[in-house]
């Protein structure tokens, strides 16, 4: 990995501090980064807590660790796409991992390069000195556009552009640095003000990767805020901001009557266009004059002379109607189902084409089910929102999300059971595909269909390899394993899991239960991409305890082999202990004892595959089974013979009497004959 140039000494980053020697058993992220929780870096995390980091391997200076919120794992793609990047204009993610926090709870961090200067918008400031045009263009727009161009080339987005997450240089006159946007899902930390309305209407974890045009939008808002020196719409909640943006247009909603230079007004206005394709590209922004000259004439929304009321909200245009229906799904469903919405669209708003489409889905809905069919209503609302505003996200029973954010939306700490249930419905019903069909001009429905089918298949998969838990991990590959057994151990990779289990094997209280629990099974299934699904599915079956242990051993052995884990003697001992004194899978006691002995001897080597081979020797098992059947037959035969002998007592007595009497008679006859012969001879 290439390194950025060494930065000057900075008390904020602690870059100049000498590297203290590593303590024994010091928790390190990626085996090299030590997070110093006693040295917080104020403002460096762009709103998230940040701490100084020491590189124990290379003594690399200028690093920080930005804390990741619980249930908000970062994107995996940025770590691979930006791994080799060395650009002082961007805080680059280097590693991700967990260390034990002060409260005895695991805390997760993204280690990244630290910005050299302070944030453009100081923490908790309400106003700043307004920036002039020249500085905005030279120090903010051009460097940011260049970074966005580079990110776009790598198929990445930033989704964290805001004044508090942009950093100046120590001299205060150089280009800015884009801060860390990697410590959570895309757009997770963005206030609604800096997000396009269609992102802002989603929960922070449900905004999805988005596109570079969304970063352009955030950059446009940033230019506007810096030019104004204040935050517009301050104090308004996210829904109010979204409604204002939809009703008035984003630029108008934010700028209002403020006095802006024509250049900034033109640039910010273009960058904040409602339609992403109307915003200038990063390449175009590198030449602000050209970007300013490019004006796309967006058709202003058609306004109705009379409002339509949706759940107490008065709407005058189709976009606002879509937002109101999405936020008030029950009232919205009633309006659409009863034909009020299409009547308003046709007669009041005068959009007969849109009214015809709404009428069509209303007709289908009414033919499919009765008025109390909640699922049909939810489907109707989802389709209605997609038709009324094709730019809107998927809206399902009050939950707004982008399909690529299903994973992060599922695991967010803020997601309650009801919302999680709604998202499960979205997956189970393959709603993203239906949604894609309703707005086919803005997405690829076939791609959505494929993804929806894959997710549904995982959801419906039986056993421990499927269900929502499997989806949690499959859709969030950096989500730490949430097993209670691992509550104090950072596990995001399979190798870490095996090492954590090896460490846990020393705890006597755990050795009576199988090492892999439900949560771990889902984690393993997700990280092995279905290759161990068959074995993992069996872990949840209520069978013989020993079969369960063998299933566990087979999974662990496969993992040890696949991930080239070191010897795991503790885990091997744990398994042997669970097997008990007898290997019940084997019938012959001598074979059992020999295998048990061999298993015990294999423990110190920690080779789980060798242990599994001892238990699953197919040829020997067949011989054992065959001989066992023969032994059973022989035992049955012996039982029959014994029973016969026991039952033949009377017969023996009768035979003895008969033989005795015949013997006595024979003796008498012999005596008679002998007597006659003797008498005759005499």
């Amino acid at each position: 990995m290439s390194m950025p140039p060494a930065k000057p000494a900075s008390p904020r980053t602690g870059a100049a501090a000498p590297t203290p020697p590593a303590a024994a058993n010091e928790p390190l992220i990626a085996g090299r980064y030590a997070v110093d929780l006693n040295r917080p870096l104020q403002g460096a995390g762009g709103g998230s807590a940040a701490y100084a980091v020491t590189d124990r391997r290379d003594n690399r200076a200028g690093l920080m660790a930005v804390q990741v919120a619980h249930g908000a794992p970062p994107r995996l793609s940025v770590f691979t796409a930006l791994a080799e990047l060395s650009d002082p204009r961007l805080v680059v993610p280097l590693a991700y991992g967990g260390v034990m926090g002060r409260e005895g709870r695991l805390q997760w961090f993204v280690v990244c390069t630290a910005p050299a200067g302070p944030p453009l918008w100081p923490h908790e400031a309400t106003t700043i000195r307004p920036w002039n045009d020249a500085d905005l263009v030279a120090r903010v727009l051009r460097p940011a556009a260049a970074v966005l161009e580079m990110l776009e080339a790598r198929r990445q987005t930033h989704r964290g552009l805001r004044p508090g997450n942009l950093f100046g240089d120590p001299g205060g006159s150089g280009p800015i640095t884009l801060g860390c946007a990697w410590a959570g899902p895309p757009g997770y930390a963005q206030p609604a003000l800096f997000e396009p309305p269609y992102m802002a209407m989603c929960a922070p974890s449900a905004r999805g990767e988005g596109q570079i045009a969304d970063d352009v939008y955030a950059l446009g808002v940033t230019l506007l805020v810096l030019a104004l020196g204040r935050m517009p719409l301050a104090g308004m909640d996210a829904d109010a901001i979204v409604r204002r943006k939809l009703e008035q247009g984003c630029f108008q909603a934010l700028a209002g009557d403020a006095r802006l230079s024509p250049m900034i007004a033109d640039l910010a206005g273009g960058m904040m266009a409602q339609q992403p394709e109307h915003r200038p590209t990063p390449v175009l922004l590198s030449d602000p004059s050209a970007a300013r000259a490019r004006k796309v004439a967006a058709r202003p929304p058609r306004l109705a002379p009379q409002a339509l009321e949706v759940g107490g909200i008065a709407v005058y245009d189709s976009r606002s109607l879509a937002f109101a229906v999405a936020r008030q799904p029950e009232a919205g469903a009633r309006l659409v189902r009863t034909g009020v919405a299409d009547h308003w669209l046709r007669r009041v708003l005068g959009d007969s084409t849109l009214a015809g489409r709404i009428e069509e889905i209303q007709r289908i809905r009414n033919s499919e089910g009765g008025p109390s069919d909640a699922l049909a209503d939810a489907r109707l609302v989802m389709q209605a929102v997609a038709l009324l505003d094709p730019l809107a996200p998927l809206c399902w029973r009050g939950v707004a999300l982008w399909p690529d954010a299903i994973g992060s939306a599922l695991v967010a700490d803020s997601v309650d059971a009801t919302t999680r249930g709604r998202i499960e419905e979205v997956i189970a019903q393959e709603i993203p595909f239906t949604w894609g069909l309703a707005r086919a001009d803005h997405c690829n429905p076939m791609l959505l269909r494929q993804q929806a089918k894959e997710q549904r298949a995982l959801l419906r998969q039986r056993g421990w390899a499927g269900g929502l838990q499997r989806l949690d991990y499959s859709l969030n590959l950096l989500l730490p394993c949430r097993s209670k057994l691992l509550s104090d151990r950072p596990v995001t990779r399979m190798r870490d899991l095996l090492l954590a289990l090896e460490a846990l094997s020393g705890r006597e209280d755990l050795r009576t239960m199988p090492p892999i629990d439900r949560e771990m099974a889902a984690f393993i299934a997700a990280h092995t991409e279905g290759k161990l699904d068959k074995q993992i599915a069996g872990l949840g079956d209520a069978g013989e305890p020993e079969d369960l242990v063998i299933d566990q051993l087979s999974v662990l052995a496969e993992l040890q082999k696949r991930y080239k884990a070191p010897a795991l003697p503790g885990l091997a001992g744990w398994i042997v202990e669970l097997m008990g004194p007898e290997l019940k899978g084997w019938h012959n006691r001598a074979t059992q004892a020999a295998r048990q002995q061999a298993m015990a001897e294999a423990v110190p080597a920690g080779d789980l595959s060798a242990m599994l081979a001892l238990l699953q020797d197919k040829a020997a098992r067949e011989i054992d089974d065959r001989d066992f059947a023969a032994a059973q037959a022989a035992a049955r035969n012996l039982d029959i013979r014994l029973a016969r002998l026991r039952a033949s007592s009377d017969a023996r007595a009768e035979a003895a009497t008969r033989l005795g009497q015949e013997g006595a008679a024979a003796a008498g006859l012999t005596a008679l004959v002998a007597s006659i012969v003797a008498a005759l001879l005499a």
Partner: protein
């Protein structure tokens, strides 16, 4: 019922035939009947009390009695076949004692031989059962099979 009736008829005709023979013997060969009657007195008694199947005890006792009576009868027949000779022979105490002892020995054999044979058979059976049980126990130990019930009983009693 039919079979029972046939047996009774056969026994009745046999009894009649025996009575006829005995009557003829007493009438036509009185010395022989006298000597034979005295010498075979135990057999006569067994005849009345033997309830073994096929009168096996009577058969043995009678055969031994006849064996013990051959010499006196031969002496009677060669000595003139008279009442005097018959009484003379009977007056020799060794003659009836020998005949009666022979019949006693016959009775004893008829009782002892079945008993001895039964003891031998039971012993042989016990040895065989012990061998089979041993094989069964070995199988149970080697393959983890349930023990034979009789073994479990032995264990419990132990």
């Amino acid at each position: 019922m039919k079979k029972g009736g046939a047996d009774t008829a056969r026994r009745g005709s046999g009894l009649w035939l025996q009575g006829l023979i005995c009557g003829a013997l007493v009438t036509l060969a009185t010395p022989t009947a006298l000597l034979g009657g005295v010498l075979l007195l135990p057999s006569v008694l067994v005849y009345f009390f033997d309830d073994s199947e096929g009168r096996a005890t009577l058969r043995a006792v009678l055969l031994f009695g006849l064996a013990g009576s051959v010499r006196p009868l031969l002496a009677l027949w060669t000595g003139g076949h008279s009442i005097d000779t018959s009484l003379s022979l009977l007056s020799d105490v060794t003659v009836p004692v020998l005949a009666w002892s022979a019949q006693g020995a016959g009775w004893l054999l008829a009782q002892a031989i079945p008993l001895l044979i039964r003891v031998a058979l039971e012993g042989q059976t016990k040895v065989e059962m012990a061998r089979l049980r041993g094989e069964r126990r070995k199988l149970a130990e080697a393959w983890g099979l349930p023990a034979h019930p009789s073994d479990e009983g032995e264990d419990a009693s132990a």
